[in-house]
Symmetry: C2
């Protein structure tokens, strides 16, 4: 048992915690605030609340409000140019994973020369070493899905080549994150479900990854337990602050899993889908893949599935030993039914069955590294087999 542990982000967690940002020492005097192009961050008053807090601390700011749900490299470069021009000395991501991930990537490019893809490993990325640490990053999350507030990872799409690839280093951990479930109340039903399942899969993938540690396991099992218990309640009644808080905690824990273990090839496959079909929400893509994906692994590498089933609430003692691993998959399908997302279809987003081989190839080419962290090494053929089984 050997591992490195590192998760240096300070996290302010709980309902109303955005207000506590007022008492924190911020990591600079001028912030680039990164928000989505959708308008909800302004409409819900979150931007005004943040600006008031900055104002009271004599911190200046510029707003960059172009981020798309599947964030793109062009906006990373544009945001970084703005940060440089305006002499911002830190970056605040306010919103969902797309805004916070963009904030991270912008923070990298505000301090480094060249193109963002110069530093990307995989696909057409040049894998160059990053000369300088990123600007300090503050994350204020308004969703419970990506866990990005508690990990160093950012996922950006290069539109020209349909590559959606993760990146991160020690400087892209947020220095400070706010997880305030009150900011999540307005997330609509279907996005609540998609995001909750994204968090779930960070935990389950991190649990079955071959670099899992006893510490990441503790985070993962707790996250799985909380999502199984509280996500259906959140989907049913988005104003239930207790359920929102528990799912927000699960999501932050799944960020801890990302920091201490890793995603697996499920994420590579999904990134291929949403790189080519950017209207497909990442969480929805994962849900579409999940039954086939976990069925394959429960059959070929069943060791860790029983503990996950138990965390999902399955009374495994009542089951014969050989049925226990697959009981996780059954519980997963049931959870998708309870969260009203069991009918999602790739075909509804325009994905064609005959494209699956090339999408599987994209998954291997752009994020092949994650396949090496699986507990069973998938060939391209097996990847195609899983994705084909998942196709509806």
């Amino acid at each position: 048992m050997k591992f490195n542990y590192y998760m240096p982000t300070k996290i302010l967690f709980g309902p109303g915690k955005l207000n506590a940002l007022a008492e924190e020492v911020l990591p600079g005097k001028k912030a680039l605030i990164v928000i989505s192009s959708g308008g909800s961050i302004r409409k819900n008053g979150y931007l005004d609340r943040l600006i008031t807090i900055l104002h009271n601390q004599d911190v200046d700011y510029v707003v960059f409000d172009k981020i798309l749900p599947n964030p793109v490299k062009a906006h990373v470069m544009e945001g970084a140019a703005l940060a440089k021009e305006e002499k911002c000395d830190f970056v605040i991501g306010l919103g969902g994973g797309s805004s916070i991930d963009s904030a991270k990537s912008i923070a990298v490019m505000a301090k480094n020369p060249g193109d963002y893809w110069d530093y990307i490993s995989g696909g057409s990325g040049k894998s160059l070493p990053v000369p300088n640490p990123a600007l300090p990053i503050v994350a204020i999350t308004t969703t419970a899905g990506t866990g990005t507030e508690a990990d160093p990872w950012t996922v950006i799409t290069k539109e020209e080549t349909n590559e959606k690839i993760g990146f991160g280093n020690e400087s892209t951990f947020p220095v400070l994150s706010v997880v305030d479930p009150e900011l999540m109340i307005t997330v609509p039903k279907h996005l609540t479900a998609y995001q909750g399942f994204d968090a779930l899969f960070h935990a389950t993938e991190g649990y079955i990854a071959n670099i899992a540690t006893p510490i990441s396991d503790a985070y993962a099992l707790k996250s799985i337990e909380l999502i199984a218990k509280y996500l259906p309640i959140c989907v049913q009644d988005g104003t239930n602050i207790e359920a929102r808080t528990q799912v927000a905690l699960a999501n932050t824990l799944s960020g801890f899993v990302e920091s201490t273990s890793s995603c697996t090839s499920e994420h590579s496959m999904e990134h291929a889908l949403s790189a080519f079909y950017p209207d497909l929400p990442h969480g929805a893509g994962l849900i579409m893949l999940s039954e086939a994906y976990y069925t394959f692994f429960a059959s070929n590498a069943p060791e860790r599935f029983t503990a996950m089933a138990q965390a999902m609430g399955v009374d495994i003692e009542t089951l014969p030993e050989e049925d226990r691993p697959m009981s996780f998959v059954k519980a997963l399908v049931k959870l998708q039914e309870d969260c009203q997302v069991s009918d999602l279809k790739m075909s509804d987003y325009g994905i064609k069955k005959e494209e699956i081989p090339s999408l599987a190839e994209n998954a291997h080419n752009t994020m092949g590294g994650l396949f090496e962290l699986d507990c069973y090494t998938l060939s391209l053929e097996e990847t195609i087999e899983i994705m084909t089984k998942a196709y509806k």
Copy 2:
């Protein structure tokens, strides 16, 4: 549910991990290396290995080798003066909790004016704000007991007044810690047990503290489980590297508990004992107090005891509900028997029964803050009652 989470230390964990320090960027160019006066760190070759690593990285060093098992303020001030004189820009604590805690306090005083006790809260401490952050701290632990490698706390005794008080702030988290169970192989049987129980009590106190969070709970229950399972094996056979590794992990997790929850009044009581009787090892003092302490709380605030019993391996399903909280205490006593430490007596260390009221008063005066974190608020009389019951 509201809390702040912060545990920024990077931890290199596992057998042989001291060697991995060679690949890390160290936080300075000249280290003050803080070790105990006992000679074992030199004798076991640990100091030479560290010096070789520093040498290969062109990092200069000075050794300060005066630390006592119960470390004292005089050595903090002397170490800090040496660090200033030698222009050290970081401090390495190499050894057990006493050396690492001293390294932390020295790092504070190397950057701040006046006397260390100016910054201490409680007792004769002046509670002054600390003007400057500490020098960066690196911790290399050779024991599994205090968890100090994964928390910001340091406990130092002011000999003149018999005050043993904790201190810490955001700058006293180690920036980097090495937890290499191979360095723990030489710890003798009785110290292995004392230290293991110290780690256990960090977890149990942090679990019953009124500021516990779901995250600190996950750390605490895992730590309790690992200690109950592996400490007797370590005590039996100190060369069992698997058991040493699991106990080292439990100890690091109990440091996480210290960072995210807190010790309770059990530690205040013990600090009173070992402040007046510095030959009493801290872990031994805790063991002496523990049966009476947890019996009192299992009766007066039983809510969290059943989960701790379960983590200790008790099959609680077989017990009537009213017996479950106390089953933790029974498991604790059994563990002490298994680890050959159930016969420890205060009287063997010279403590007199008639001193207990003044020792209880010292506990309230010097570390009264921890009493406020108990799940039931102890009066001075109840503190005396517990300590008297613990007296043998």
